[in-house]
Amino acid sequence: MPFRTLWVSLAAALMLQACATLGEGGASRLGLIQQRQTLRCGVSGKIPGFSFLSSDGDYSGLDIDLCRAFAAAFIGDADAIEFRQLTAPERFTALRTGEVDLLSRNTTFNLSRDAAGGNGVSFAPVVFHDGQGLMVKTSRGIRTIDDLNGETICVGSGTTTEQNLNDAFEARGIAYTPIKYQDLNQVVAGYLQGRCAAMTSDRSQLAAARSGFAKPKQHQILEAVLSKEPLAPLSAGGDQRLGDAMRWVVYALITAEELGITKANVGDWLDKANKQTELTRLRRFLGVDGDLGMKLGLEADFVVKTIAATGNYGEIYNRHLGPNSAVPIPRGINQLYRDGGAMTAPPFQ
């Protein structure tokens, strides 16, 4: 009876593996992450510039670097991450069931996701301010959103994108036919094959997609911005310790850019802070003085470890979305507050 032996051995092998994940506990997810010594990070894996698989088989992108920053701050090792690929419909379920510790997955921060009566998740600060736009072929002669009256538009389904499109066009009384696809790559393919006059997605994703086209100049992103899309990492609601720790890791990345602390010079800054006792603000930030890290449930020097692993926010941005990257997106509103953008962090006090 070969089937029976097989069946038993298969079941036994897989059951053993299932049991191996049992027996983890802890009040806050943060404690669990530190006890487990790995961070389970939910990512998309399918968004150029934000998260994708590079040719050597590693994940790369802005969302990925945020996971690495969290892992460096929580565990002290930026590589102690298990990436889980999640599609848009399953991401909140995966968070609620604890399959992932946190999401760094192009998720728009809005009220119904944040509120306890909605998805009930807890958002970290915005790491990329985006907005939904429309891309058309220049040859079609479409200049404004009103020129799209009666046209077909390619859109990804099951996201806020679809709803924003509907809201914006309803408000202007413009008729349109949506063609819905499962994910952005299919939307792009549909648009390139000429199935629709325009495609809609977040402007960052439109820019990313366009940079891969054979003739990028033949495509134009319209001026109209249909929505605010502040993208932020998030954790399950009701876990203040993990939420706080994530929040202040993002703030640390922004503060480091404000101060000019980079991946390369963070060691020099630490020396400087150690030697000069009068630099109280810097000493607090880098964990030389005080117990800011401990208050969060992290090591005192979590900022140093984070910056050493990924660099500051500006470095992460430039690595994946800067002018010399494969997907250049002008920094615009994502610049520091002092440069005219919206990125700012409360004091480390």
Partner: protein, 340 residues
């Protein structure tokens, strides 16, 4: 010459026919020419050629990549051997004995190679991917679905009313539900019902969902085989003093399964193709890895190349399965005792 004359005469008598035929021939030539010139000239195959190991094994740890590659090559080798070596009763009996056991052995071997253990570094299932994951999903769910499906078929044809009706209810419900709904249930809803810290391996969840679904179809295929066995065979077995269980095991099932092989092959091929649905649910199998690579800014817009490549791969696997099934079908006695 005579053929030419006949053709010309035919053309004179049926002009519309001839024009249509010429048009279709021209169309076929044009399509072939366009496809071949695209494949040879226009397409940029670097997105495929530079990622072959990723297509094979996904983001499996780099230093352990030989394990999924070894498993795939062993499977390929075994497939070739099985297809080439003639299996006839009498001659080459040794091969006929060893090969089935080799196939059976491939499944635990694949699991051990992929998951680790027995001295190999453990690799968690979320790092599995590519062709190796696609094949593992197919093989494991097929192996689970077959015995379960046979039991369901026996239950469905049983004389015991409770067993018969419950088997029938299960089969009817499963066949009425779309596969994607079953997979969503397994992937998204089951974790919600489980206690917070209990987590079932996501590959196992997928395998079980596939197996539960496929079992309903397997059951109906096997039932078809069972009904093709004349009642006289059971009676003859009973006369020979075989118990009902022995008659089932030695007389009815072997023949019924052989009759069901073409239908079961259909299920297996369908199962292989259905594993691509898991790309929608976050498993990085063959389709999933292709979608990840397409997001790499260096390769945006190379959809056509990647999907043509995927089509070729799926075609290859399905054809191999079909050929193997034909081999099994032709390698033993048929219902009438003759070798086909």
């Amino acid at each position: 010459m005579r053929a030419c004359k006949a053709l010309i005469r035919h053309c004179r008598f049926y002009p519309i026919d001839s024009v249509l035929s010429l048009g279709v021939i021209a169309l076929i030539i044009w399509v072939l020419w366009a496809s071949i010139s695209w494949i040879v000239q226009a397409a940029d195959w670097s997105v495929v050629s530079s990622h072959l190991p990723l297509f094979a094994s996904g983001s499996y740890p780099l230093d352990q990549r030989w394990r999924p590659l070894l498993w795939i090559s062993l499977l390929a080798a075994l497939t070739l051997i099985t297809l080439i070596v003639p299996i006839k009763r009498g001659s080459n009996r040794w091969m006929g004995m060893v090969l089935p056991w080799c196939w059976v052995f491939m499944i635990p071997l694949g699991l051990v190679l992929m998951a680790g253990g027995l001295g190999l570094t453990p690799v968690p299932s979320r790092a599995w991917g590519g062709i190796s994951l696609t094949l593992l999903l197919t093989v494991c769910s097929a192996v689970l679905a077959l015995p379960f499906g046979i039991l369901l078929a026996l239950g469905r044809t049983s004389d015991l009313p409770v067993l018969r009706h419950s088997s029938r209810l299960y089969i009817d419900v499963m066949r009425a539900v779309p596969l994607i709904a079953v997979l969503f249930f397994g992937k998204l809803l089951i974790p919600l019902f489980l206690p917070m810290q209990l987590e079932i391996n996501q590959v196992l969840r997928a395998v079980v969902a596939f197996a539960l679904f496929a079992a309903a179809y397997v059951a109906e295929d096997v039932r078809g085989g069972l009904q093709a066995i004349p009642e006289t065979q059971r009676e003859a077995a009973a006369v020979l003093g075989l118990s009902p269980l022995q008659s089932l095991q030695l007389v009815v099932l072997p023949q019924a399964l052989r009759i069901a092989i073409p239908a079961l092959t259909n299920q297996a091929i369908g199962l292989l193709q259905n594993t691509s649905l898991m790309a929608l649910l976050g498993l990085v199998e063959l389709l999933g890895i292709a979608q990840n690579l397409l997001a790499n800014p260096a390769f945006i817009g190379r959809h056509l190349e990647v999907y043509v490549w995927l089509g070729a791969l799926y075609w290859l696997f399905c054809t191999a399965m079909a050929l193997l099934a034909r081999k099994i079908e032709h390698s033993g006695p048929t219902l009438n005792g003759r070798s086909a």
